[in-house]
Amino acid sequence: MDNMIEIRWHGRGGQGAKTASLLLADAAFNTGKYIQGFPEYGPERMGAPITAYNRISTSPIRIHSNIYEPDYVVVVDDSLLESVPVTNGLKETGAILINTTKTAEELKPLLNGYKGKIYTIDARKVSQEALGKYFPNTPMLAAIVKVSNIMTEQEFLNDMKGSFQHKFAKKPEVIEGNMKALELALKEVKLIN
């Protein structure tokens, strides 16, 4: 079980955190891994806090519970930092990835003394630049792949191109923008502590 990576996503309903967790599972599956991708279902409403999970492993995954001690946490909306204890159980050997424009000094008081690595990305800027709209999940997906290093950037980009071609078969005009969002995000994500 030591080879298993556990990831917990925090987002708001409508931002695509669940979709991002499923896309990550897909991408890892396509590189030969065993995967789980599942959201925690509740009374879903636009804007309400939601949680989704990923397990990625080189051996079959048998455990069926939520994730309490993740290796990585992804925060898709930084307004959650004030209301959701996102660093609960997060391993200090791991990292937290936050979609924000805040600085390390501004973030630290919001992370309940978390001593591990903190990565940030301005997913709004990336999304606006690449897609002309605010869809934070695509850049966050690329950013967590880079931070967690579960596959190479090239493997990831190749796989996502295939997924987008399948997913957007009826509107191919959005494929280029989504690929650009991934590529930009891989460059923009940065370690801030």
Binding site: F29, Y34, I35, Q36, Y41, P60, R62, I63, H64, S65
Partner: protein, 396 residues
């Protein structure tokens, strides 16, 4: 070569139904099984199956339509959860007493009330005495495999009983996981076609289905149902043997995990078994002889096999994801202990009610159960056999 895929439990069930290609599917949506008929209806629209899909107005009608179709000689399926099953209840008994081998994925969700959409086994336990064969599935793979085997069991001429394939709502129904699918042609060949011995559309042999049956023969007909359920055990094993030849995946009435030399054992069903296997492995690494007995087949109840599997352990915990509210243990516990008693196996056995209404079941919870069992072995005492875990107590 099998097909490596990643699917949710609901997707896997819908794909099994596509390979079964039943004559009739009648369904009404209810969380968390809604996706099964939803995905299946797209196969109908896209011409991937030639099923007559009946979008009925309630689950009572869904089961009624399946009964009508099966009585006519067709292969009929539906899928449901929770209160959808509750609304079918009257017809559930009619299906089994008419000896109609309807197959139904049952995505387990707690039965209201209070109103709750999440997983436990209270829906399934409501039909445990209804004359349905009931298979439980640890994950998406088992939900799929059980469905592929289902018709061969249900339609066998010594059985002729309806069959439900259970899996845990959300926990496996909505989790994307790896799975090995059987190629369409091989799956279809394994499942075979349905040739009922008697049916309403057989003009050469006019029959009545579901007539009044009073003192003269009602009892004998119930006995025949009971005999059919007893016969099902053998048929389930025969079908499993063929399935193993096809896929390499081995199924029995139950699965013993590191039980042969175990001193402490947990008995449970569905997704909790996977979590328990991880805990067993970690305990074994510390030299603690822990084991698991997972029930795949809950009806017919493999009492003798369970007793035999548990005869050498020193303490047993039976986990029930349903509260019988009878002040003396959950449904799995009472069945397991009765099976042990009748087969002269006397091992200290305790019951835990857990996971009701979707309360998450963690590895830590399971570890706590094994720790309690070690204490029972050490002291030789069972203070209270009726226990809970994951329950908030002493909090205002």
């Amino acid at each position: 070569m099998s097909i490596r895929e990643r699917l949710s439990g609901n997707e896997a069930s819908a794909i099994a139904m596509k390979q079964i290609n039943p004559d009739v599917v009648a369904a009404f949506p209810i969380t968390p099984s809604t996706e099964i008929p939803q995905y299946f209806s797209t196969f109908v629209s896209n011409g991937k199956v030639d099923t007559e899909f009946i979008a009925v107005e309630s689950e009572h009608s869904a089961m009624s339509a399946c009964i009508g179709a099966e009585a006519a000689g067709a292969r009929a399926m539906t899928a449901t959860s929770s209160n959808g099953l509750a609304l079918m209840w009257e017809m559930i008994y009619i299906a089994s007493s008419c000896r109609l081998p309807i197959v139904m994925p049952l995505v387990n969700r707690t039965l209201s009330g209070p109103l709750n959409i999440h997983n436990d086994h209270s829906d399934a336990m409501g039909i445990r005495d209804a004359g349905w064969i009931m298979l439980f599935s640890e994950n998406n793979q088992e939900a799929y495999d059980n469905l592929i085997m289902a018709h061969r069991i249900a339609e066998h001429k010594e059985v002729c009983l309806p069959l439900a394939v259970c899996q845990d709502g959300f926990i496996t129904s909505h989790s994307i996981e790896n799975i090995e699918l059987i190629e369409d042609e091989k799956a279809k060949e394994f499942i075979g076609t349905y040739h009922p011995e008697h049916s309403l559309l057989n003009a050469k042999e006019p029959i009545a289905v579901g007539p009044m049956d009073l003192q003269a023969y009602y009892f004998e007909h119930k006995y025949q149902q009971a005999e059919a359920m007893r016969n099902a055990k053998k048929v389930i094993l025969e079908v499993a043997k063929d399935f193993e030849k096809l896929t390499g995946r081995k199924y029995g009435l139950l699965e013993e995990y590191k039980l042969a030399d175990a001193e402490i054992a947990i008995v449970c069903m569905n997704s909790t078994a996977g979590t328990t296997k991880d805990v067993v492995d970690s305990l074994r690494e510390q030299g603690i002889k822990a084991g698991l007995l997972k029930l795949r087949v809950f009806r017919p109840f493999p009492a003798e096999e369970i007793a035999k599997a548990l005869q050498n352990v020193k303490a047993v915990a039976v986990l029930d994801k349903a509260e019988s509210l009878n002040a003396c243990g959950g449904p799995l516990f009472t069945d397991v202990t009765s099976g042990m008693y009748v087969n002269h196996v006397k091992v200290p056995t305790v019951n835990y009610i857990y996971g009701l209404g979707g309360r998450d079941t963690t590895a830590k919870d399971i570890l706590g159960v094994y720790t309690d069992l070690q204490e029972i072995v050490k002291t030789g005492k069972v203070n209270n056999p009726y226990r809970y875990f994951g329950l908030k107590r002493g909090e205002k």
